[in-house]
Assembly symmetry: C2
Homo-oligomer: 252 residues x 2
DNA sequence: CTTGACCTTGACGTTGCGTCAACTTCTACA
DNA sequence: TGTAGAAGTTGACGCAACGTCAAGGTCAAG
């Protein structure tokens, strides 16, 4: 007693296309193939198909399902491993949701998220590539968790400290002092100190190329107008860049 | 002042490949293309790129991002819509996690999940295609939520009721009474009544083709040995099928 | 002039099928 | 028995967002 492809598809709650796919990848072959080329399935195939569909509904990939059905992997271990992945995904989603909510809130509050807010708390996404490349993905992830994991008041304090630093830079730049002068160099020191508070930056870790990082950062401030805006525009950013370079060359 | 593709990629924290992709799909074109074919980007492009990356990090798809940047869609609305999707995903994941956990638990408890447990509480996945086709996806989703949303004691009660029905069927089949006889017909009535307790089945809704459903169900019991096992094997299942058919023809 | 770094345009791979397209086979009815 | 319509077959493209070669031009430095 066997069924046609459509029949077994309905019995099991899937489609004939999926069954052909399973045949193609060798996950489930028909029990019999007619001389006309038609696929026919028997009870054993139905049972196997239902196990496949059950595991798939739990979110397992087809290769993983193949392993389980081949007996190469115990069901519990496959599922346990899968569970870890699911939990990670859930975590990621939760953080993403929080992030979107914060963004919407900010937008509704009239904040210019694309310019100012991106700088609030230091835009770590900015350096993701660089950070991951130099210190591994964990470093970036750590920084990300750090910022997202802060309480509102902590974030507020951080923002104020950041803003104060920005104000002082602008004042210095406008006062006409030299980037290499004592006042600017003190600001540069504070800037690096401030950077040290950001996990994921070399300044916060031992053994990193802090010097190159700080110099590159200065260039960024000039190159990116959104960053530049925090230092009073391009001229101010150039001042910061120069001061940081002098400081880095001399002290890092 | 502009940057090469690698430079801007590093500045913004992405890859040159992604930038070429964005160019290909028209999301972000270089501000200038050299006579050698090289792509060059200026400050405006950098800002646009960073907005793209920000939105992408929030999980938006590239087409959606294109809409936002084209001003065709307000940011808040795009994000709000996206938020809904994220929450749905989170929900789905949560249910899947619970499901996987239950399955692992069952496996560790030594239960033969693939045979017996699938029948516990009626395997609604079995009829997903059919259910969705006839009553829409909501019906299936409702049934799914129903089972997953039950408390343990509720599930237990349901299992016992199900088991009792199975025992009675087996006893009747073995006693040698006729499928069309009063005893078997009373069991059939109970069976349909029991079915009515399962959301998503036609028996639980008004206006469905209950008759065809019940008859088809009987066939299923015979065809699928796992179902058959609940009725004492193939012979028992055949008895159930015959009794259900007679009952359905006469009363539904 | 050579070497190496960087650029270009294809084009395939990824995940699990949905969805035509073009054609053959089976089933049922006049 | 001719034929329509349902169902079967094998390709092959599409999707999301790039990663990853491959093969070959361009540029800056020694």
């Amino acid at each position: 007693m066997d069924w046609s492809i459509q029949e077994i598809a309905k019995l099991a709650g899937t489609t004939s296309r999926a069954l052909r796919h399973y045949d193609d990848i060798g996950l489930l072959e028909p029990s019999r193939i007619g001389s006309n080329g038609y696929r026919y399935y028997d009870g054993a195939a139905l049972v196997r198909l239902q196990r496949i569909l059950l595991l798939r509904e739990l979110g397992l990939g087809l290769p993983a399902i193949a392993d389980v059905l081949a007996g190469e992997t115990a069901e519990t271990r496959a599922l346990a491993g899968h569970l870890g992945w699911l939990r990670q995904e859930q975590d990621r989603l939760a953080r993403q949701i929080a992030s979107v909510e914060r963004t919407i809130e900010a937008l509704e509050g009239g904040e210019e998220i694309m310019a100012k807010d991106m700088f609030d708390g230091f835009d770590h996404t900015q350096y993701r590539e660089e950070v991951e490349q130099r210190w591994g993905p964990e470093a970036y992830a750590a920084g990300d968790r750090w910022w997202r994991g802060m309480r509102d008041d902590e974030r507020q304090a951080w923002k104020e400290r950041t803003a104060a630093l920005g104000r002082d830079w602008i004042a210095a730049a406008e006062s006409g002092v030299a980037p290499g002068g004592a006042e600017a160099q003190e600001l540069a020191r504070r800037h690096v100190e401030w950077l040290a508070g950001v996990p994921g930056t070399p300044a916060s870790q031992a053994g990193g190329d802090v010097k190159g990082y700080v110099i590159g950062l200065g260039e960024m401030y000039v190159a990116d107008e959104r960053f530049a805006a925090n230092y009073g525009g391009e001229a101010g950013a150039a001042f910061v860049r120069d001061a940081l370079r002098v400081y880095a060359e001399a002290n890092l």
